[in-house]
Symmetry: C2
Amino acid sequence: MSEISSILLDNAVNEFSKLPGIGRKTALRMVLHLLRQSEADVSAFSNAMIDLKQGIHYCKVCHNISDSDVCAICADASRDDKTICVVENIKDVMSIENTQQYKGLYHVLGGVISPMNGVGPADLEIASLVERVQQGGIEELIFALSPTMEGDTTCFYISRRLQNTSLKLTVLARGVAVGDELEYADEVTLGRSIVNRMPFDYNK
Amino acid sequence: MSEISSILLDNAVNEFSKLPGIGRKTALRMVLHLLRQSEADVSAFSNAMIDLKQGIHYCKVCHNISDSDVCAICADASRDDKTICVVENIKDVMSIENTQQYKGLYHVLGGVISPMNGVGPADLEIASLVERVQQGGIEELIFALSPTMEGDTTCFYISRRLQNTSLKLTVLARGVAVGDELEYADEVTLGRSIVNRMPFDYNK
């Protein structure tokens, strides 16, 4: 858009269009919106990003995002500290917390093993997970990774590293999504959900 | 999303979700994207917004956005300074510049007359437009406002204020959009395009 008559405006639009899913048209709409706000509001917006980047901590136990050295979940004494849910990233922690079905702790790997993308076990928080388990007190490890080749590889790798422990290893149930029409379920999922069929329970 | 474990993160997400069309999920995706960038990149992003807000000028002639007192369009001697295109906002200037079909000047009203929203003639740059015309040298005024009740009211109001001048007043052609299927054109547009039918030209 060579027709933008201001270098300052053009800069702001360029910065915005670097964000995921934001094209130049949307970026322009955002920037013109900000321009209509007060200077204090624009400062608040900008400073929130700088403060976040400069002030953010990652929990030294589970590597979740945190404002302090240990995150609120790890610091919460009411949670079950015998169970660790292994996830790929902090968004997954939020998703699982949203369900309000899980009261244990987490371990954020920071990715999954993906030779195609040059991500090996050493790039992930796997050593710190093994160490956490070896310190004792953990009874169950739940793998909550994506049901992809990379996710499965990561589960397999971690389970091999932990094979000398008496840890119970579990994985998220896979099957037809709740509320889904059966005819739209893919064959692999449907096939697995038949093989792994569960006893029918009137009360659920 | 009470599950966000960081106040800094929560602040950043809140600020982002104030932008038009951005919900909390999208905001979180944006913020996590920024968090993965270097501190320099985040500063560049934030400073672009602050610099824009603090440094932006509006052209004192046409009220277009500008880095200096007079915008690049008004300062361009190669443009036709006898024609002024009256638009609602700076986005419209960009849209018309994008067509590369117009070589005259602009006048940005900053809105249209809308009693429903409490916008009267005094809230818009109408007085400065009348003054610009009265200084002489302008031969044609093109109304490029939205074909809505408010747009039409604004055209009418401005034309009344200028009725003692010998100015040629024109309005954007209205009709079936280029590339549109006739069956999807609305009745009013189709009706007007029959009434205002144009001579067929082989060369166009």
